[in-house]
Amino acid sequence: MRTIAGDTLYVNLTEGRSWREPVDPDLVRSYLGGRGISARYLWDLLRPGVDPLGPDNPLIFGAGLLSGTAAPSSGRTTVTCRSPATGWYLKTSGGGHFGAEMKFAGYGHLVVLGRAEHPVYLWIDDDRVEIRDARHLWGKDVRETDLAVKRELGDEDIQVAVIGPAGENRVVFASVMFSVYNAAGRGGAGAVMGAKNLKAIAVRGSGVVRPAKPARFHEVALAARESLLADSGAAGLAMYGTSGSLNLVNEVRALASYNFQRSHLDDVYTITGQYLREKGYLKRTVACFGCVIGCHRYSEVQQGPFAGTYTGGPEYETFCALGSGCGTLDTEAVIKANELANILGMDTISAGSVIQWAMESYERGAITRADLDGRELRWGDTEAITDLLQKIARREGFGDVLADGVKRAAERVGGESYKWAVHAKGLEQSRVDTRSAKAYALAFAVNPRGADHLHTETFAEFGVSPEARALIAKITGDEKYANPYCNEKRAEIVRWHEDCYAVTDALGFCAFATTALYGITPAIMAEAFSAATGYDVSEEEIMLAGRRIVTLEKCFNVREGATREDDILPWRLMNEVNPDRPEPDAINSREELDRMLDEYYGLHGWSLETSWPTRDTLEHVGLPGVADELEKMGRIG
């Protein structure tokens, strides 16, 4: 029988040893699990200023507190470290079954320290932990490695977290892949793993995770399941996956296309989930651990130049990043590009973003054929996309420039190319045009890891379901604020979603269950946590725990030197009006962002001047020790 929180397994690759420690119950009360406890571990273990790709950057895998139980859609695993892409805080999460398997083996967290002398992989078989030679796996792609490890260990049912060639080569947007096709993609955790010479982590667990109050927990889990399935969007998400939302985003002029030079295209049907299903590309749908929705899809191309292509996805973000963003609506080419990114172990958002930037740079003459090994690079050139993906992963030719991310690539190429390098804090922006989605704009600007949606998914601002409109009314007092073009009340909307998303991640729930569908509410999460742990926690208390996590992550960046100046959006979005919505509010102007930031910092109790949390705020959210440390550094608000 396993405890709900599990133990923490430490592995020091430099010393070649491992040990386990029970989790302090106070940590569970304060930080819940998964992302929350990982944030605390990183704060405690990481010395400020360390090289993200050096041995002193801890790499922490955190299974959601409820992963491995009957709680629905609770299979998310968070990976936490200092990001090589941004230099700031990184938490990135993936679905699949890895986290649940960690819990079955008795571990809630795995902390990887140091660096191995040569490539290794970890084999965690319940209590037995081995650091095994992986030199024969180095160079293999994600699919090959997953298969090889399973064969070597003689068990096809174990769960494996893997890096591909991109991680080995320290591409700063290399991902950690769970169950082959589930990516912890953003921010370069795969590069950190590669820098540690850690090719894979295989886990097998034989235990059962026991909640503190099993009967009550069972009731709550069933109620959560029913609530989730009753959401008006549940059937659509199950039927078409995330790319079913592409039509919506296109109609509201927020579909990032041609490197954010367009936000609306006439017909995007061929890159929608609807098209995948109608035209037979959808091979099967797959559910992550405990999920009752099953939005993940596997796609296959059976004919033509890409025949034999088979991959998880494409998700919404991938269709935009490697499709409309690169100027192509070619379904099969995007599926192929998605397969390559997955097996090479790269984040599709960032990979697509750097390619789009290169396409625009070529069009504008900032780079030439000579830079590109003699080839042209035009919008919609699908052969160039697949070619560049391979070169990036292996750091060949111009791929080596792109492998360092769009911010550094623009710095190297120079000129005005920074203007179309669509990133913030060094992270390539997720594929929503924030000039048409103002809560997203604020959320992206303040996200500690950079401009993306997986810290604060404010999908509700689109107001396209009764549940979304009701939530916006609950947060702001009026349903009229369910309007993505509106820049009022965005701070309230963002802060609520931050808190909720942090709780979601910490418990291991999928954000689609809480902030895209709304069936699993904070009240349900509080009930589930209470029944799982035996602590009696209210909705308000669990949301405060979420804010504690968010605030600690913010403080991590403050400790590394972040100020208000770092809470910014990409140049293009702040200086160019959305061309497909030529209205005065179709821009993320400096003035608008400043006003939203003032409101947001004010709500949090952070300094408007520096963005640093005040001592009062830190004490209120339960971080007095963090306040002490920041005060010593002179970085208290």
């Binding site: 039509n247 017909d267 609807q274 949606h453 349903e479 993505p484």
Partner: protein, 85 residues
């Protein structure tokens, strides 16, 4: 008379993609009136909980439709929407 471009589909009325058609309507036509006209032609059953109605990309809420006057060149989107991200 004015011209309004109607974009309809995404799963509504069995139209999987988004169809575009230009419609000539009387000046002063309101969103609800055009919705009634368009949808009468294609279907009589709509689950409005998952439909986006928007003019030039801006969502038009249920209560706004009867008062929202269309102007020449407007684009009226009527599409089924799904959650995602």
């Amino acid at each position: 008379m004015i011209t309004v471009r109607v974009r309809l589909g995404g799963g509504i009325a069995g139209i999987p993609h988004v169809e575009t058609r230009d419609m000539r309507v009387e000046e002063g036509t309101r969103v609800q009136e055009l919705l009634d006209t368009v949808l009468r032609d294609v279907t009589d059953e709509i689950d409005w909980s998952s439909v986006l109605v928007a003019v030039n990309g801006r969502r038009v809420g249920d209560r706004e439709r009867s008062g929202w006057v269309l102007t020449d060149g407007d684009v009226l989107s009527i599409i089924r929407v799904m959650p995602g991200g």
